[in-house]
Amino acid sequence: MTASAPAAEPVSGETDEALMQGYAAGRASAFDALYARHKGGVYRYFLRHCGNAAIADELFQDVWMNAIRARTRYVAAAKFTTWLYTLAHHRLVDYWRASGQAKFASIDDAGDAETREAVEALAGPRRDEPEAGLATRRLGERLRAGLATLPPVQRDAILLQQEGGLSLAEIAELTGVGVETVKSRLRYAIGKLRGELSSLHEEL
């Protein structure tokens, strides 16, 4: 489930699929509703993966432009979030390939300098928000840091689950692997992040 907008929960009485079909039929307001529902999840999907706001902005814009161009090819049989995050996933893979980081390889060494740099560069909140206290702030930092240390395939799985609200089967279909593989990746990612949170609680 996403934090800001549950993907499949109908807002204003229309499902994502109906809104996308309405937009494909020429109703611009349907796109506004869809965009409002899913912009946060897609944006954070890129931001958590890349750790760079500028790159996330570029990839985010590309995905939505692709969605706009492909609106007439959208088939209602496909779940909209699956379709949207498939576009996002493919765009991310393309970006990594183009930038020479064509590795959905594991970043196992958390002490690696490059990884530490990426963790430090992970963007915090983009808007001014009131101080939520030291514990809350540190919790967020620890969570982002733990996510950054995950191997990309595990990070991808947990991001698709948390931000996209996709099921195991949908993640498996999207990433082209089996459900058990997805389950394994998620278990590993959750275990790692849970460990980060536990250590934080012990510190506090």
């Binding site: 489930m1 996403t2 934090a3 800001s4 993907a7 499949a8 937009y23 020429g26 109703r27 611009a28 796109f31 506004d32 965009y35 912009k39 946060g40 944006y43 954070r44 931001l47 902005d57 985010f60 814009q61 939505w64 432009m65 706009i68 161009r69 609106r71 963007a123 915090g124 909140p125 983009r126 808007r127 928000e129 809350t136 919790l139 967020g140 969570l143 982002r144 689950q161 948390q162 931000e163 609200g165 996709l166 099921s167 195991l168 389950k183 998620l186 278990r187 959750i190 992040l193 849970r194 949170l197």
Partner: protein, 236 residues
């Protein structure tokens, strides 16, 4: 959406922490740019469905009444050609519209052709005796034109207009059945005889009297007193 089967790969504490720290949103300028592109794409694309539908229905609107009119015209022409011409000529409504008669009356005698016409009277009419013969031949044709092309409407005799009545060839002779039915006309007939008598046309008046006698059994009794003496001198 996740099912119960996915519960082993979910962690409630992690989900809560994730939701609390998933606050990043795209910058506002990006929102505006994407929304503008989405709206522009929809506004710029040509409306494909509606104009096509209008184009498809427009021709049907104008040629359908035209086609219906053409079909009706073809049917009417075809039917009119199928009707035999002799039937068309016999149809009174098509050949010559009948002149409306003022009252339903039995057929009147028509002036015969000059060849058939016998010795005419001084008035130019046919003697009642000959007229009666011609009447019996044409009794079944209520209103037809003579060979002279004159159509006579069966009008009641109005003998006070003696000049007018003398101008045409109509007589009051009729078939026995018609005579019986025309009993009230005997008065007009008698008035005509009287007019002829007063004008000095005794021969004509005698012929008319004999014709009246043939038509009305008690003709002599109906005569006015001033004609009865003269009538006794007229041999039937």
């Amino acid at each position: 959406m996740t099912s119960e089967l996915e519960s082993p790969v979910r962690d409630a504490a992690l989900d809560a922490a994730w939701r609390a720290h998933s606050l990043e949103e795209p910058p506002a300028h990006l929102d505006a740019a994407i929304r503008a592109a989405a709206h522009g794409a929809v506004a710029a694309e040509p409306r494909e469905v509606r104009p096509v539908a209008v184009k498809a229905t427009r021709p049907q609107r104008w040629w359908m009444p035209l086609a219906a009119a053409a079909m009706i015209s073809a049917v009417v022409i075809g039917v009119s050609r199928l009707v035999p011409q002799d039937q068309a000529e016999q149809a009174p409504g098509l050949a010559a519209p009948p002149i409306p008669s003022p009252a339903p009356a039995p057929p009147v005698a028509f002036a015969p052709s000059p060849a058939e016409r016998g010795p005419t009277t001084a008035l130019g009419g046919v003697a009642p005796s000959e007229a009666a013969a011609s009447d019996s031949a044409g009794a079944g044709q209520p209103s037809e034109s003579s060979e002279l092309g004159v159509t006579f409407a069966p009008e009641p005799p109005s003998l006070p207009q003696a000049g007018a009545s003398a101008a045409h060839t109509e007589t009051f002779a009729a078939s026995p059945n018609a005579r019986a039915a025309r009993t009230p006309d005997a008065e007009a007939w008698i008035a005509r005889i009287r007019t002829l008598y007063d004008e000095g046309k005794r021969t004509k008046a005698a012929k008319e009297l004999n014709a009246l006698r043939a038509a009305v059994p008690d003709a002599d009794r109906r005569l006015p007193p001033e004609l009865r003496a003269w009538a006794t001198t007229v041999e039937p």
